[in-house]
């Protein structure tokens, strides 16, 4: 059963416009069974929109998404049956008790009475809500409400769990607890979780999708991503001179990791990658001057990923 290579969520060229504004554009990815996928991006990057399309709350403008093989538009009810969803604002009926609320959520998901009774007790136990099972939800603190939200999401043992910023707005200790709780669900559930907190992703997720301005910027394992980002700095230069000589001379500069030629014509445009902090601009200029080549352009390139990461890390410092 637990075939980890079969995709349970397939998203293909998903696009959603709000009027003329593209919230997400051509997003494609797959998630395998039992995987925890992180959705990382600054606010308004399109995380919530993607999740709302996946959960069948709103239809995409174009493209398709499948949950366990069921299209979220054409076979919406079947797809929805397989999803547990925790929206960004935890949806709770404040005037109901925790137990009544969970029971109601079970009923509208078509759970039998027996199944409901068993699962309500289980999730109350797992989410450590025992003391508050009969309290009115309106009287609970933010952290406990979050747990009730998670409890309803996992109640019907869904194949897919979708959680929109599950750790936002709760205190640091509860953040850690919530993360551990979510981690514990990995394996049996496939989880998509969105966040704009960078460290959270590496702590919880096995794979990360970075989206920015509605587009997928990168999909990778968190370790690989950080490596790719931390390691390098890029400079683009245009140098007039014999290509082979220029290439080898550039490669010989200490600190340079890789040199690639971008342009095909006589004018040589090169992309130089180096370890961060090497500051090669001056050395390149000196080199070109000594060899009597022509230096036409020298431009440090901000990697777009890095830019996003910078924004992510600076807007919300690690809270744990």
């Amino acid at each position: 059963m637990q075939d980890r290579t079969s995709p349970i969520i397939e998203v293909d060229n998903l696009t959603k416009y709000y009027g003329d504004f593209p919230a997400i554009e051509n997003i494609s990815f797959t998630v395998n069974k039992g995987e925890i996928l992180g959705f990382l991006g600054p606010n308004a990057a399109g995380k919530t929109t993607t999740m709302r399309v996946l959960t069948g709350f709103m239809p995409p403008t174009s493209g398709s998404a499948k949950i366990a093989g069921f299209d979220v538009v054409d076979q919406s009810l079947e797809a929805r049956r397989r999803i547990g969803y925790l929206p960004e604002t935890v949806p709770l009926y404040t005037e109901m008790s925790v137990r009544d609320y969970l029971d109601f959520m079970g009923r509208i998901r078509g759970m039998s009475k027996e199944w409901r009774r068993r699962r309500v007790n289980e999730v109350i136990d797992v989410c450590r809500l025992d003391e508050y099972a009969t309290s009115l939800i309106g009287k609970l603190s933010k952290g406990f409400r979050q747990r009730v939200g998670i409890a309803q999401a996992v109640l019907h043992e869904p194949e897919v769990l979708i959680m929109d910023e599950p750790t936002i707005g709760i205190d640091p200790i509860q953040v850690v607890e919530t993360r551990n709780l979510i981690k514990g669900f990995g394996g049996e559930h496939t989880i998509i979780l969105s966040t704009h907190i960078l460290p959270e992703v590496s702590m919880v997720c096995e794979r990360v999708i970075i989206i920015h301005e509605g587009q997928v910027v990168a999909i990778d394992r968190p370790e690989n991503l950080s490596e790719r980002l931390r390691g390098t700095e890029r400079i683009e230069v245009d140098i007039r001179g014999p290509v082979a000589d220029v290439m080898s001379a550039l490669r010989d500069i200490p600190g340079v990791q890789e040199v690639t030629r971008i342009s095909k014509d006589d004018l040589g445009s090169y992309n130089i990658e180096s370890a961060s902090g090497a500051d090669l601009g001056e050395q390149i200029a000196t080199l070109v001057f000594e060899r009597h080549w022509g230096l036409l352009r020298l431009q440090p390139i901000q990697m777009s990923l890095e830019e996003i990461f910078l924004r992510l890390t600076t807007t919300e410092p690690e809270s744990t």
């Binding site: 069948g56 709350f57 929805r80 999803i83 709770l92 959520m105």
Partner: protein, 237 residues
């Protein structure tokens, strides 16, 4: 069907644990009793329920929106609408569940008035027919007001706004038949035909006309249809 029952049951439970249920019931009972007393205190008192059944339409116009205002507007505010709409529940099941619950809530406020009927039996010999038709008409009228209230609640995330909108629509639909004396021909027929209170008159007199029943059924169905559409439109916004 199971989903409709689940949603209706949840709403009914929520309604009856709130103080609102009993406040509305008390207000209605007091007013109905007052109308009853004035109607039997004349020179030639009549052992009928018309005295409070007729003005009840106005009370329903004012009270129904209070019952329905939170039904969808509050779900939207709490964010639970998103949860409902991403559960394996069809939009019409949400609307029907809430309609059933609100109708039950409204009918429940009629229950205390049973003592007025008992009083009539105690002290007089009322004709049971008009009493039953009066209550049947009031129930249909009440369900019509509920359907308008539900539509208004789906239009706005603000409960007060939805209550005021519902009262406005219901008042217009109740008094529009008065305009029939000022317009002629087909317009006169139209205003009489779309008036929710005009169709109630026969019931109060003890006449059950299928024409009136059909009107209420069509009216309610249409309003619920619009509510489902309004809910669906949220997905596209």
């Amino acid at each position: 069907m199971k989903n409709i029952v689940a949603i209706a049951w949840k709403e009914i439970k929520t309604y009856f644990v709130s103080p609102m249920a009993y406040v509305i019931m008390a207000v209605y009972s007091v007013l109905a009793s007052y109308y009853f007393v004035t109607s039997i205190s004349g020179v030639l008192p009549e052992a009928s329920v018309r005295g409070y059944i007729l003005p009840s339409t106005l009370l329903f116009v004012l009270l129904s929106p209070i019952i329905t205002m939170r039904l969808i507007a509050e779900e939207q505010k709490l964010g639970t609408l998103e949860l409902l709409m991403t559960s394996p529940v069809r939009d019409y099941e949400i609307v029907l569940g809430k309609f059933v619950a609100a109708s039950a809530s409204l009918v429940s406020i009629l229950i205390p008035t049973a003592y007025l009927v008992l009083l009539l039996h105690w002290f007089g010999t009322p004709d049971i027919g008009p009493i039953l038709s009066g209550y049947l008409g009031l129930t249909l009228f009440g369900m019509a007001t509920i359907s308008v209230g539900l539509l208004a609640s789906s239009l706005s995330g603000n409960q007060i706004v939805s209550a005021v909108v519902a009262m406005g629509i219901l008042l217009i639909l109740s008094i529009i038949d008065l305009a029939s004396s000022y317009v002629t021909g087909v317009f006169s027929d139209i205003v009489l035909e779309i008036s929710i209170s005009n169709h109630f008159q026969n019931f109060a007199r003890g006449i059950i006309d299928t024409h009136d029943i059909v009107f209420y059924v069509v009216f309610i169905t249409f309003m619920l249809f619009l509510t489902v559409r309004s809910l669906e439109s949220r997905r596209w916004r």
